[in-house]
């Protein structure tokens, strides 16, 4: 669906196709060619609209920082943003689901709680990496969390494959409780031969 892909890239509002330099893990004798791109962002926490819901920067290392424009959740609600990333590589190489760092702001009363759930999967595959972080009130500050892989999850070999990162923010009942996800940073992909 090349046309839809183009529209998505435009909708997200950035040209993110950046060829990557060296970061190979193991077998360094021949480095794979690869590109990392943000394809889409959509969800109840980042609905598509006239303004792109996220901005993103791809670092030369392949790390991606996604900046949410208005991902705010208040009292007794929950919202999700799905970010779809493409990592394309030379045949014979595969890559690892990246570690993720989230930066949020939370303002919670004494009995308030905010939760941030991260889920990641390769398009079309059931296997899902999941992580759940929580902060309890009273709290009024930046809230930084990281998701490390509990077990290695490698992309299917030999093909370009998309990865979805779903971030869900939940806030407890009190109407004054609020949490806002500001950025999600994906580590540079690690590589190995198939």
């Amino acid at each position: 669906m090349p046309r839809a892909r183009n529209v998505l890239l435009m909708a997200v509002g950035i040209a993110l196709l950046i060829p990557l330099g060296a970061m190979a893990v193991g077998a360094p004798e021949r480095r794979p060619d690869r590109t990392v791109a943000l394809l889409s962002a959509n969800g109840s926490g980042c609905p598509r609209g006239s303004t792109p819901p996220v901005a993103a920067i791809v670092q030369p290392t392949g790390a991606i920082t996604v900046r949410y424009r208005n991902f705010v959740v208040s009292g007794g609600d929950y919202r999700t943003c799905l970010v779809v990333v493409n990592v394309a590589t030379t045949a014979g190489w595969t890559w690892l689901i990246p570690a993720v760092e989230n930066r949020a702001w939370a303002k919670l009363g004494a009995s308030g709680t905010a939760r941030l759930a991260t889920s990641m999967w390769f398009t079309g595959f059931e296997s899902t990496v999941q992580d759940d972080k929580q902060v309890a009130g009273p709290f009024d500050n930046y809230w930084v969390t990281s998701v490390a892989r509990k077990q290695p999850a490698w992309a299917p070999c030999g093909k370009s494959v998309n990865l979805t990162i779903a971030e869900t923010v939940r806030v407890t009942e009190a109407s004054s409780d609020t949490a806002s996800l500001l950025t999600t940073t994906l580590d540079p992909p690690s590589w190995r031969r198939c």
């Binding site: 669906m1 079309g124 759940d132 070999c157």
Partner: protein, 199 residues
Amino acid sequence: MFRTRMLAAAIAGVSLLGPLAPTAAQASPAVVPSITLQVLSAFGGGCPAGTTDAVPNADNTAFSLAYSQFRVYGGDYKSCRVVIRVAVPQGWTYAVYSIINRVTPNLAIRSSARLQMNAWFTGYPWNASDDHSINGPRTTLWTSTSTPGVLTYAPCNQSFDLNVSDTLRINGPVSNSAELIDTDVRASTIFNLMWRRCA
């Protein structure tokens, strides 16, 4: 069995998207057939215009559909029907694919969420369905995989459209809800695709 194999293979990084070996085909193909999927449209109460994003893999063998307004509250339901154009090589047909739905529930005790999937080819009587439920209390991601159990081959030698309809229902007080956030469809592995030569 299918589920276990797929999970294990994905974690181990085994080549799942490799050549399509005709696992149960009557004849081995001289040329490996390939299949592509294209989302033509999505419509329904769960996916009003402009609220979904379809993102295909580069080789069009799978796609991911992200929803932004598929939230359902207790005592209600919403549906979305996705029409997928399936392209296969001349002289080949196929059956079976997998549909993965992901739901963020917000269910208290004595409430439940139910996800019903129906699939059919436009203009043909064949119909496959699947039905999964979870009970509250639950607030963690629910991943639900449907693999139509009845093996029926698609019509030969013509372009055809696959319809997939997902309905999410919530039982319980209106304070309970759940949101369908993603539908993934994949059609190109030896695990969930069966090839056959047309007569």
